[in-house]
Symmetry: C2
Subunit: 476 residues, 2 copies
């Protein structure tokens, strides 16, 4: 594994533009409102701290308890790098969003376009859908005999992933014959579910998703670490960054613990200000899929219809992604003039890993020539500051998380930070942030549509017959 010599600096949360001191009293949050939440915040922090490592908070210990696993991941990753031209993740949701985000953040932005010698690792694909055109197109561009497939599903029951497994294992058996099993790495529960049993039967290389780690909190397990290592990421630095963030989040004082402050501010935004939308807007292409990863974490954890005490609610905030500067030309008009219903979270990069100077020219056009000699780095930074200012002028709330540099260490911090914010926010809202009961109904209904004759699906099929018939006038 190559070792990176990057800056190991803390990421910074700046919430000035959330506060009434800066954006004014109409929507800005008063420091006194945060103070009024001090007890609730301290209790949230204490509850999370008390339960760390147990129940569904198993993921909190991931920065510390994976020495042996990391060594094995590095060994297997090295062997994959040497043997294969392509590495394909078959997984969906929490088994896909993290691997995609980390690859985009830490590797060359045209990884698959690079010649093999420049990559130093296989081409990388994450197949998180069952669209037949997409699957067919994948098979057009990979040679399965030169490809390693990483099947990721904790339950081993994910219909999309197991369908992909059936398709791919059949192709491998035909194309590779004996030894086809060496093309498959299973990442799953250590004892429960179909995939681990299959792995035992077939002898697949296997990694485990530990107990107490749900899909959306699994990026720092082999789910995320193996794909990252295969593409040359320094996964030890990712875990180091996560550990460093953990040490910063030990205080129960809302003004000392950035994750606690963030959870309180979003709680106030959602519950007191009806800001039911949070826009995550990285000003860096490298971080654009981190926004998608966060969108799952935030939506699925907090979008709940019942509190832990069984009280009916419909809480949660809709996370949505925008990319700076690109979406200034798509969404900013709405953000500055539309309803006061959203908070903008900027992800900012201190120093980019490349610098591109805008060449001299266009002397005849003052506004264009003015850009000559400046760098794209200065331009993207100025546009972020311009957008923050425009939102401020319109009385809109924003906040900025700055990564001095995008690297494995700062990304590890960011992942852990968002996970803890989510856990705290779950406490404040008093919801179970770790389940997803609302997904089950769709799954049952899908299997019912497909004609599964098991009793639970047939019960759903019968229930579905109770839906009123569509009316013709509503179909144009």
């Amino acid at each position: 594994m190559k070792k990176h010599t990057f800056v190991r600096e803390p990421i910074v949360l700046d919430v000035n533009h959330m506060m009434s001191d800066i954006v004014g009293f109409q929507y800005g949050i008063d420091a006194g409102e945060v103070d009024a939440m001090a007890d609730a915040a301290a209790a949230a922090q204490a509850a999370v701290a008390k339960n760390r490592g147990t129940g569904w908070l198993g993921w909190m210990e991931l920065p510390y308890n994976q020495d042996e696993i990391v060594a094995k991941i590095e060994k297997v990753a090295q062997s994959v790098r040497e043997q294969y031209d392509a590495f394909v993740v078959l997984g969906i949701g929490g088994s896909a969003l993290g691997p995609i985000a980390v690859q985009q953040a830490l590797n060359h932005q045209r990884w698959n376009d690079l010649p093999k010698e420049k990559r130093g690792g296989p081409k990388f694909y994450v197949e998180d859908n069952v669209d037949p055109e997409r699957m067919a197109s994948l098979l057009d561009v990979i040679d399965v005999t030169r490809t390693c497939f990483n099947i990721i599903t904790k339950s081993g029951a994910t219909a999309e992933t197991m369908s992909q497994y059936l398709i791919i294992s059949e192709l491998l058996k035909k194309a590779v014959g004996e030894g086809w099993q060496r093309h498959i790495i299973a990442t799953t529960d250590h004892e429960k579910g179909n995939l681990i049993k299959l792995a035992w039967e077939e002898g697949f290389e296997t990694f485990y998703i530990p107990d107490g780690v749900g899909g959306r909190f699994s990026e720092l397990t082999p789910v995320g670490l193996l794909p990252a290592a295969v593409c040359g990421v320094d996964i030890r630095a990712m875990l180091e960054g996560a550990a460093a963030m953990d040490t910063r989040l030990q205080s129960g004082d809302v003004w000392q613990n950035p994750a606690l402050l963030e959870a309180c501010l979003q709680y106030i935004a959602m519950e007191e200000r009806h800001m039911n939308v949070q826009v995550v807007m990285p000003y860096a292409d490298s971080l654009k899929y981190m926004a998608d990863w966060f969108c799952q974490l935030w939506a699925e954890s907090l979008g709940k219809n019942v509190t832990r005490k069984g009280m009916a609610v419909n809480c949660g905030q809709t996370p949505t992604k925008a990319l700076g500067v690109t979406d200034q030309h798509s969404q900013l008009q709405l953000y500055t003039e539309g309803p006061y219903d959203k908070v903008i979270t900027f992800l900012k990069v201190g120093t980019f890993r490349d610098e591109v100077t805008i060449a001299d020219g266009c002397e005849q056009f003052a506004d264009v020539h003015f850009l000559s000699g400046k760098t794209l780095n200065q331009l993207i930074d100025a546009e972020l500051r311009g957008t923050e200012y425009a939102l401020y002028s319109a009385g809109r709330m924003s906040q900025t998380i700055t990564l001095t540099e995008v690297n494995a260490y700062t990304l590890g911090q960011l992942i852990y930070f968002f996970e803890i914010v989510t856990a705290y926010a779950g406490e404040l809202l008093d919801v179970d942030a770790f389940n997803q009961p609302g997904v089950e109904s769709s799954k049952l209904a899908s299997y019912a549509v497909l004609g599964n004759t098991s009793e639970k699906y047939q019960r759903k099929a019968a229930e579905m017959k109770g839906r009123p018939e569509p009316l013709k006038k509503y179909t144009l």
Copy 2:
């Protein structure tokens, strides 16, 4: 240009799951509410019809008035296909989202990954950001001497695009020398702005964005048609589809005109039900960037702080994208259990262009083996129906737009449909759907940050000094 022999069938809007007849009275819309809007709807349709082709409704005539332009586009596209290995669009917002969406919808999903002979056209890149890492990574994978750059900006003043122009033209001058201008095609206004003047000076091949067509309504001009044609799309069929949709949208009767019905339903959802979020959820990877294209159209057109009569409002609905089935594993939990604040718009494909069968296997696991012999096509369809049902069960509104097949003809329909819906919605909300004044402040502030000494930027710089200083306690 290759001619496609695809089905030319109308796309279908099904709003049953928006209506109280199906989803119940708590949130569902009653047919009587739509009837109550009949006059307003008729007036909206009449206003749009009356002004078609004039002012900012110039785009309505695009399906009919481009015979000569299309012939020229096809000729130039053919020459690009023969001469170049890569085709790079330099543009942002309305100059990028359409070209990206159409390429993804109509061409192979791993276009750049295919060998050249299978593509039959150049690699395709759309550079709609000024991230320095992204620009550097592009230059790592293209050979500028074998690349054609299409610079798209109507005003010729777009800072991002003109910066890219300066960088690329400098590289071309160095690498190509004499004749570097042949690598550039300008798409811009026919007489106003910097880029047309540059094109005259340098002799670039040039296409025009007609009067009366704003950026987000420009996909059916050379902005979208040239990139599509370069990648082999049948652009005449796109325009044919748009024309066919236009003929379907002539009625002032809300129950006869699907775009009018759609505009009314979204108006009621926004204004009466406080559904301030619209999720566009294609169940097809091919349509995922059509969702982004729609998100600009809807956000920038309707997100306004003043009516046409000058009354202060803060209207608009936040469009956000989800991908089926992928985001069932990310967002569906929130959609079924979170706040009643959103409408889900499914984009459904009747028949995919590939069929993939799930191979036999896993006899030992009933729920996995059950999938054997079914196709991914059946699975994705069942999951859409399962999700629609789950939303229905939870009292949530959804609607479905079905494309019998994704092809140039149906895509042309879809584009025109959404554009007209947006125009009607602007009428109903009584806002100017064709301007974007809210973007200006950010632009001025960015140039002020960059130190531009022109008076208007200096005035902004002075204004920016009035912002309160950040407080240390808000930075952790």
